[in-house]
C-alpha cells in the first residue's frame, strides 16, 4: 500500500480533477492519493467525482483556502 501526494496548488479547474483521475488510474487498490489544492471549485468537484466512483474520500482544510482531498482507491 502506498501513499501518493499530488501537488495541484496554483492549478485552476479542471486541471486538478483530470490530474487526480489520471493519477488514480495508475494506482493499485488500497493505495491512498492525497490531492493538495487551493482552487475552491476543485475542492468541490474532486471529492464529488471520487465519491461517485465509489472510493473512500476525506477532505481536510489544511490552511485558509487550502485543502487536501484524501482518496483511498477501493476498486
Amino acid at each position: 500500500m502506498k501513499e501518493v501526494v499530488l501537488d495541484c496548488l496554483g492549478e485552476a479547474c479542471p486541471v486538478p480533477l483530470v490530474k487526480a483521475q489520471n493519477k488514480l488510474n495508475e494506482m493499485e487498490v488500497g493505495d491512498v492519493l492525497i490531492v493538495q489544492l487551493d482552487h475552491s471549485c476543485a475542492m468541490k468537484n474532486v471529492p464529488e467525482w471520487a465519491r461517485k466512483d465509489g472510493h473512500n474520500v476525506e477532505v481536510e482544510e489544511v490552511d485558509d483556502g487550502e485543502w487536501e482531498v484524501i482518496i483511498e482507491k477501493t476498486k
Binding site: L9, G10, E11, V18, N22, H39, D64
Partner: protein, 186 residues
C-alpha cells in the same frame, strides 16, 4: 464570573449557521435560482439586461484616456450614447458599480469563509495561457456584443434567438478549449 475559554471566532467557526450560510459553498441550484431572481431585478430596475464585459471595454477606454489617449475616432465608441457615457466618467456609470460590487462581493465571500489565499503562479505557461485566453475572450465578447452574461444569459432570458446561437458557439469553443487545456496543462 468565569471567562469562557474558547475564543469568539473559534465558536463562530463551529456554529451551524455559519457553516451553512458562509463557509460551505451554495449548491449550483441555489446559486442558479438566486442569479435568475437578481437578473430579473436588474432588468426591472435599470431597464437593461444584466451585462458584465461591455463595461470592461469602457474601463479600458478610461484607462487609455487617463494615459493621454483618445478613443473619439474609434468606431466602437462612435455612438453618442457611448460618448456621453465616457464623458460622464466611471463614477456615474451604474454598470461599473455593479462590477465593483461583484468583485467586492466575491472578496467578501471568500474572506467570510476564511478561504482567501494569494496563489502562487506555477509556471510561465499559466501566464501565457491567461493572457492569450483573456485577450481572446475580451475580443470575442466585443465582437459578439456580449459575453456569457450579456449575450448568452441575458439573451436567453429575454427570449432572444441570439442567446441560443451564442450557446452553440460557446459549446464548441469550450470543447476546443478543454482539448487545448488537457494538451498543454497535464
Amino acid at each position: 464570573m468565569e471567562k469562557s475559554n474558547t475564543k469568539f471566532f473559534d465558536r463562530v467557526k463551529k456554529n451551524e449557521y455559519y457553516i451553512k450560510w458562509l463557509k460551505n459553498p451554495f449548491t449550483y441550484v441555489t446559486a442558479a435560482v438566486l442569479l435568475s431572481l437578481f437578473q430579473i431585478v436588474t432588468l426591472a430596475a435599470t431597464k437593461n439586461p444584466w451585462g458584465v464585459s461591455g463595461t470592461l471595454a469602457y474601463w479600458g477606454a478610461w484607462i487609455y484616456q487617463g494615459l493621454g489617449g483618445s478613443v473619439d475616432k474609434w468606431y466602437y465608441f462612435a455612438s453618442s450614447g457611448a460618448q456621453s457615457t465616457l464623458a460622464a466618467g466611471i463614477l456615474n456609470h451604474g454598470e461599473s458599480w455593479r462590477n465593483f460590487g461583484i468583485i467586492a462581493g466575491a472578496l467578501a465571500a471568500t474572506l467570510l469563509a476564511s478561504g482567501f489565499k494569494v496563489k502562487k503562479i506555477k509556471s510561465v505557461r499559466q501566464i501565457i495561457a491567461a493572457v492569450i485566453g483573456g485577450l481572446l475572450m475580451g475580443y470575442g465578447a466585443r465582437l459578439a456584443f456580449g459575453c456569457n452574461i450579456g449575450a448568452l444569459y441575458s439573451g436567453i432570458a429575454s427570449l432572444s434567438l441570439s442567446g441560443w446561437v451564442f450557446a452553440v458557439g460557446m459549446f464548441f469553443g469550450a470543447i476546443v478549449g478543454s482539448k487545448l487545456l488537457v494538451k498543454f496543462f497535464m
